[in-house]
């Protein structure tokens, strides 16, 4: 059994090792794209929630409440079914008959990115609130314009305060990409399902998939901790 298991997950002609690693790479890509999209949305969301206009704040709150309160799988489904339908309708209007569907990678990245953006909004917002007002006032007193102030005072410190929370959000994004297996993207989990279907070894392949997720998560967590330390160095005295 164990010798056979090694052949199956190995890199030989019988082995699924190469495909699994490629799929893990796709998982990492999807997670990275979703996280970056989420960062952009999070920055916008935090700006909305911290704005002085009540209606903008309301939009920000609506965004975070909805996307943090609804299961991720529903968001993924909504974009999977809804996205294709919307595209098909759009193409029909433009005069192209037939059924059109979006690539599941893009749908997945948008869905997971939106959810992680809601969590990142909270991370950036609370980090921004930890900033001392005095520093912003000091920057203004020195004659910094708003973009310069944002770039030199607000952004670096917000990032530093938000980094531990961002690390946690990255971990959940990485794990949430497993949901994309349901909409047909051949990422790590989907590839393991295919392999276990072909070999009738679900325990082995799902175990290997879990291990690969663990390795990816732990390695990136190490990276995050390094950056945290590196960023903290500027504030050491």
């Amino acid at each position: 059994m164990s010798a056979q298991a090694f052949t199956l997950v190995g890199f030989g002609p019988e082995g699924w090792g190469r495909l699994l690693l490629l799929a893990a790479g796709l998982t990492l890509m999807a997670a990275l794209c979703s996280f970056v999209l989420g960062s952009l949305l999070g920055a916008v969301g935090a700006a909305l929630k911290l704005s002085s206009s009540r209606s903008l704040r309301w939009i920000g709150t609506f965004y975070t409440t909805v996307f943090r309160g609804v299961p991720e799988i529903l968001v993924v489904y909504l974009f999977y079914f809804g996205g294709s339908l919307a595209l098909t309708r759009l193409m029909h209007l433009a005069g192209f008959p037939g059924f059109f569907s979006l690539p599941s990678f893009i749908i997945g990245v948008v869905a997971i990115g939106l959810v992680s953006g809601a969590y990142q909004t909270e991370a950036y917002r609370s980090a921004c609130l930890r900033l001392e007002r005095g520093q912003i006032e000091a920057g203004k007193a020195c004659g910094m314009s708003t973009p310069v102030l944002l770039w030199r005072v607000i952004a670096p410190q917000t990032l530093r305060f938000a980094l531990p929370a961002l690390g946690n959000i990255w971990q959940s994004v990485l794990k949430e990409t497993a949901l994309l297996s349901i909409i047909g993207l051949v990422e790590l989990l989907r590839q393991s399902t295919i392999a276990s279907g072909a070999t009738r070894q679900p325990l082995l392949f799902y175990g290997v998939a879990g291990l690969l997720y663990l390795v990816m998560g732990q390695t990136t967590a190490l990276g995050f901790r390094r950056v945290e330390k590196r960023l903290a160095r500027c504030w050491e005295r």
């Binding site: 309160g69 609804v70 299961p71 070894q201 325990l203 998939a209 879990g210 732990q218």
Partner: protein
């Protein structure tokens, strides 16, 4: 807006709420018991016990819940002694597989919350308790646990909300909870926007109920912090 369809959808999907809640509550209770055990291991003076706890937490926090569900649902059938054991009739059912995976998953997060809550009890209060002769269970019952409960409750409430959302994954292994019913309805009617919107609203409603409940419980349990 097709209100008649929305109401019909809501009626269909609300039928899944009992299953969703059942999954969440069962897993929360089983998960809490496991979490207490793991937290006890993590706080033990015996180093290998702490390693076991750390490994447990890392395994269940570091892998996607969906992988865990698949391992239990598809993988456990491969383990010979499990198939032969009295547990097999239980583990054959998708419901219990989902409960098992959800409980194990939430227990890892719960253990961290409990550990943090116990660590947050001020050391001087424990010392004071010891100084007036309290020890063992008395010290825990009177000083440590009530305080830890105050610190940990809000976090455990968040975990309960995350667990409620996580139960939606049980639909992937054929359970007809709110998400499962929504999926089935979409594949029948192709009206995905409305159906998933209603499903989302149901989850949002449940989330608010849990959040309000935790808030109420917190107020009741911490009369001293009320302002």
């Amino acid at each position: 807006m097709d209100w008649a369809f929305l109401f019909a959808t809501a009626k269909t999907l609300l039928a899944g709420v009992p299953l969703t809640l059942e999954l969440a509550v069962t897993s929360l209770c089983v998960g809490f018991v496991l979490a207490v055990g793991v937290a006890a291991l993590a706080g033990s003076r015996f180093a290998p016990a702490r390693w076991v706890a750390a490994l447990y937490v890392m395994l269940f926090q570091g892998t996607p819940l969906l992988v865990q569900i698949f391992i239990v649902y598809y993988g456990f059938g491969q383990i010979g002694f499990l198939r032969a054991s009295f547990l097999w009739p239980v583990l054959q059912q998708a419901y219990w597989c989902a409960v098992l995976a959800l409980s194990l998953n939430t227990s890892a997060y719960g253990a961290e919350i409990i550990r943090g809550a116990i660590a947050a009890v001020p050391a001087r209060e424990i010392e004071a308790g010891r100084a007036i002769g309290m020890s063992g269970l008395l010290l825990r019952r009177r000083i440590i646990w009530p305080q830890a409960l105050q610190y940990g409750l809000a976090n455990y409430g968040n975990e309960a909300i995350l667990l409620l959302k996580a139960t939606s994954l049980a639909s992937v292994i054929t359970l007809m909870d709110v998400t499962g019913l929504a999926y089935r309805l979409v594949s029948k009617t192709y009206r995905s926007e409305e159906i998933f919107m209603v499903a989302g609203l149901i989850y949002l409603g449940l989330t608010f109920v849990i959040a309000a409940g935790v808030h109420l419980l917190e107020r009741r349990l911490t009369p001293c912090r009320r302002v």
